[in-house]
Point group: C2
Chain length 363, copies 2
Amino acid sequence: MKQISAKDIKDLCCGAAFLATGGGGDPYVSQLAAERLLEKHGPANLMAPEEIPDDFNVVSIGMVGAPTVTLEQLPTEDEAVKAFDAYEQQTGRKIDAVIPFEVGGGNSTIPLTVAAVRGVPCIDGDGMGRALPEAQMMTFPLYGVKPTPAVLMDSWGNSAVLHCNDPLTFEKHIRAMAVAMGGMISSAEHGMTGKQASEAAVPKTISFATKLGQLLRNHNGSIDAIESELISLFANTQYGAVKRLYTGKVVDSERKIIGGYDVGSAALQSFDANLEPMTLLIKNEYLVAKVGDQVVASVPDLICIVEQETSRPLNAERMRYGQRVAVFGIGCTHHYRTEAALKVTSPRAFGFDMDYVALEDIR
Amino acid sequence: MKQISAKDIKDLCCGAAFLATGGGGDPYVSQLAAERLLEKHGPANLMAPEEIPDDFNVVSIGMVGAPTVTLEQLPTEDEAVKAFDAYEQQTGRKIDAVIPFEVGGGNSTIPLTVAAVRGVPCIDGDGMGRALPEAQMMTFPLYGVKPTPAVLMDSWGNSAVLHCNDPLTFEKHIRAMAVAMGGMISSAEHGMTGKQASEAAVPKTISFATKLGQLLRNHNGSIDAIESELISLFANTQYGAVKRLYTGKVVDSERKIIGGYDVGSAALQSFDANLEPMTLLIKNEYLVAKVGDQVVASVPDLICIVEQETSRPLNAERMRYGQRVAVFGIGCTHHYRTEAALKVTSPRAFGFDMDYVALEDIR
């Protein structure tokens, strides 16, 4: 079993922010919290999906809400641990391992800190292989895992236990509570067996994000210099093709908090005056990228953005006028290539009037 | 111990609709459901507050949401019983008696049907002595009873268990869930000892509402003929003064569902052309009555409206242009005359820029 210690957290957060496609919450505050907690409680054990005993009681833990909120309302260190404890109390059963919802800012480090504080392993994998805004979009329900019982906890210690008949109802109820509880909450949910976790999880994403972050952070220069290294790093994973889609300057960016989500769009202008501008459509994550009228990548494929000159990932709530960025498209894992998965994660599932075309099939 | 059987339900619903000051939900559907369930399961035992053993486990049960919703989305018969069962399961303790939130349409019969179905007594009293739109306005929290754990149940069997630090947070969270769960839900909440229930409950309101309904229904003619009988009926209760405030025709009535409430206003025009019109301000219940600019009654005092020619109570969502009505003001019970109670139930608590003046002190 690998370990993740305080010194790995900056790399993990950087790589996870890349894979989070603009969402998953700002990584800075959760990075500081994770470093502090792993220094205090020791490293977290990272269990590969193939190592999980079939009868393990695996529970998914993370934060739910509008990422923008975390920029102003800092999360408390023990909220997710309280959710873990309340889940055990509610179900009357010990949790054997935790697993992240997604690789994204806070949601990749929070399960690690809970794992370290409570002395259980964290699965090296997650329920998205990226970040996505809604619960029914996770691989767990797509592989038959029930979302509830779910235990929700806010910063003040108020809690709620949800029991829902289906993933869409769960999404509706947890979203309503996230808004009522202040915009961002911790949730312990999607309890599953080890066998289910090993099938449903997108594997090795925590260790992969750490390697990816290492590459980006050690370089700390123009992304152009490490593009081929970046592409070869992805070659050993379950992700699909990696393509540079655009390079340009942010010329417009607007976001509103609607129903607990960050909803908006951004426009990029290429340094090549002959190229049409790129439009990004956003709902917490970068969901659709167009150049002019032409869709060049769409959800569930990943649209990942880094600052051109530093190679640092740029999450949506940090996007500002004038930033110079490089936009990558990355094919999603096989978990999202099925009809059932595309029904809840394709552009139509977000209200966009367009079919999903796999990144590999565009141009 | 008294009993309430199927044959009493029409009287109870009529009297409760009077005391509900326009809110509490439309009584018709819950009346039919209560008659059917009490015929099937036998009468409900009605326990007077002074009869409750001090160590009884008393839980308040009823529906929460926008009354308008019940006109179109009929409640299921077993939703409240499921909330009762889930509450027992959640707390690991048998419920000894149930108590209504309020005397209002469905909320006075639902606890009786749960009592009959589950074979426990229903307390002859309630947490308002009227209807009011928010949880922190109940007498229970005003007497120190904690609102949670609360178990919420919707028509499809989805549930939520809330734990909140204070009554205002509880109101915020349960309201969000009521909206997310379809607009109207059942809730088991405000668990208390028998001793607490006997202090906090507005006493004898279920049997009183039944007597009141008997008077109004047996008469079934102009309210003028029984006004003195109505007033003397109130004389033997904890309510204050009873005054006829206005008689006239509904000339305007508008209501919107905002945030899970029915919010709006209505205007009445007197048959006496010299009298200025009456304006009613509504949030689920009739909260403020003005004649011209002069406030003639305000919450927490009761504003009760009957159809002039039939003496039948008129709830807010049934108010239509052209109806001829009589408006009564009734002084609230001592539970709402304290500073702490007025802080959460006076007109200012509803956003109206006016102080409460006791009905007895107006004019």
